[in-house]
């Protein structure tokens, strides 16, 4: 049987809030609250959700850029959460991240050559500085930049080009998995398409696996093979792309898909408009976290946390409607 490249089990990342005077107990923000999924080699798993749902925290927890509170992360069968710093660094040459804001993630005082060269040197790729320079030039070519850019500073590039540099840095160490955290949301649409195509090309030529985190459902749909929909620290639905869009099961997924404006002015779709806002993760609602905005809400939703239900192989949903113990309530 195929072993998954990455397998995440019951991952939880909690942040303690500041201690308030006279208040004995520290509150915790459950940014990621029990997440399970697997990523197979060569596939793209899209993670979609609204701001504050914990999708970025999840991405960073997998790389241990933020230490997870609980749970297990296995990369190629090896447990990541218990690694020491030295082994962790080795592992990071296999798992890389591309950030949203290419303005903030590149050191403004370093040339492109030294930014990429540093990545190579840290992971002992290339023996001499000359050899590394050659590699940097090759990398720039791979991401659609030219070798003359090697002496330039980040501010001399446009947003799209900077994101190319960010991608070059990620692929410099020959990773197997790249976590892309909102890589195109700061870019104009015409440039966004260039970067999405670059991701696709690199996946094919380098055999990469992606976890693609974004809030834009159309972008996630375009790049992903499977999609996980997050709401308040949980994956509420996990499914292959086609099924998710043809037959969304979770009420939140249904609302999310229907809320995306279409490009066809003639299409008049029945829009589900959710009332209210996303609740704060510091005081999530009882029972099912989505019950405050759900149109099918029943008593059980307010009191009991939903379980993860396997509807069909590879298709998970976190909702009482699909739970054989509770579905009678919804009839």
């Amino acid at each position: 049987m195929n072993q998954p490249l990455l397998s995440v089990k019951d991952l939880k990342t909690y942040f303690p809030t500041k201690k308030i005077f006279f208040n004995k107990e520290r509150q915790v923000i459950k940014a990621v609250d029990g997440i399970n999924f697997q990523v197979n080699k060569g596939e793209t798993l899209g993670i979609v959700g609204e701001s504050g749902c914990g999708k970025s925290t999840m991405g960073r927890s997998i790389l241990r850029l933020i230490e997870p509170t609980e749970g297990s992360i296995k990369f190629e069968g090896k447990e990541v959460t218990t690694l020491n710093q030295k082994d962790l660094r080795k592992l990071r040459s296999n798992m890389q991240i591309v950030f949203q804001d290419p303005f903030a993630s590149l050191n403004p005082k370093m040339t492109v050559g030294s930014i990429l060269g540093e990545a190579l040197a840290t992971h002992q790729l290339g023996q001499s500085s000359k050899e590394r320079k050659e590699k940097v030039k090759e990398l720039l070519g791979k991401v659609g930049l030219s070798p003359i850019h090697i002496e330039r500073y980040p501010h001399e590039f446009s947003g799209g080009q900077r994101q190319r540099i960010g991608i070059a840095r990620a692929i410099a160490v020959n990773p197997a998995l790249i976590i892309a955290d909102e890589p195109v949301s700061a870019l104009d649409v015409s440039v966004q398409a260039q970067i999405l195509n670059l991701f696709q090309d690199l996946k094919e030529t380098l055999g990469l696996t992606y976890i693609f985190i974004a809030h834009d459902l159309s972008v996630v749909k375009h790049v992903s093979d499977r999609i996980g929909v997050m709401y308040l620290g949980k994956i509420v639905e996990l499914s292959d792309k086609k099924q998710l869009f043809q037959n969304p099961l979770h009420p939140y997924t249904q609302a999310l898909i229907s809320a995306v404006p279409t490009l066809d002015p003639d299409a008049k779709k029945d829009r589900i408009i959710l009332s209210g806002d996303v609740p704060s993760p510091s005081s999530p609602p009882s029972g099912c976290a989505f019950h405050t905005r759900c149109m099918y809400r029943k008593n059980v939703c307010e009191n009991v946390k939903p379980r993860e239900i396997t509807v069909s192989p590879g298709r998970l949903v976190n909702c009482h409607m699909y739970d054989e113990d509770y579905f009678v309530e919804f009839l």
């Binding site: 609204e50 799209g160 015409s190 398409a193 999405l196 609302a255 809320a259 490009l263 002015p265 806002d277």
Partner: protein
Amino acid sequence: MTIELLKVENMNISFKDDESGTTSAVKDLSFYINEGETVGLVGESGCGKSVTALSLMRLIEKNSSFIEGTIELEGEDINLFSEKKMRSIRGNKISMIFQEPMTSLNPVHKIGKQIGEVLHLHALANKINCKEKTIEILKKVGIPRAESIVDEYPHQLSGGMRQRIMIAMAMACNPKLLIADEPTTALDVTIQAQILDLMKMLQEEYNTAILLITHDLGVISEMADRVIVMYYGQIVEEADVRTLFKNPKHPYTIGLLNSVPNIDSENEGRLIPIEGNVPNLGMIKSGCPFRSRCQHAYVKCHEKNPPLFKRDSQFVRCWLYEEEGVQA
């Protein structure tokens, strides 16, 4: 019958810069908005759409910028108005909402006070009935527990709620024209759907015209009656929403539509991006500003910037349509 509300003719907006005198941000812009109509203004960052909106309200700094041309609102050229007279237009006839509601609300004043100020200034309420009126307005834009929200500060509210407050303030005087500059860009999709729904509802109730500025083609297709596409400070295409999405003509419009992943399509292939980047203002001195990114560019495009060609009700600024259309 349709009544023309706003008519902008040959508007040029330029900014003083250090060296060479001025940088032109918007060139020769002409458009109109009818009463009760939604006009979408679409383009990428730096194309001049926000500066156009600010100029309509005369909100860009006078010392460092020039607005030429006429901006006729109900037959009067507001570009000639004194600052004092302009103040009677802002809020009353034209009002505006912005992308980031947190920066447009005052963080140290309660919501009630900020809306009350609007009502006071426009003599819609006195000291006695101010709170009552404020609550009434808040309820109209769908704010739950309006009675307690008036005593809260902006930071206590979510992004969607803040944008509702901004809309409440903008709509307080029942303006003829609402300029919405990227009103939902900072919001999540489910909240975006709420805000767009609210804008539509208010528009139907008060017959307000909306100038909707956004980079999001989906929002445009959903909301607009007519669409203006801008590139490098110029209108490159203008058409009714159906024509624009079904039969786009300008290579830039076609490129934009091709580069957006469509949520409804089953097409799994590659996107067709527009190569290159949006040029910086002042970089292109002659010819068509889009030519360096255009697949169809030929000699003429390098020599001369095309005028708008008109065919039926569609306007295209491209030499490819020189023979088909009439110069507008």
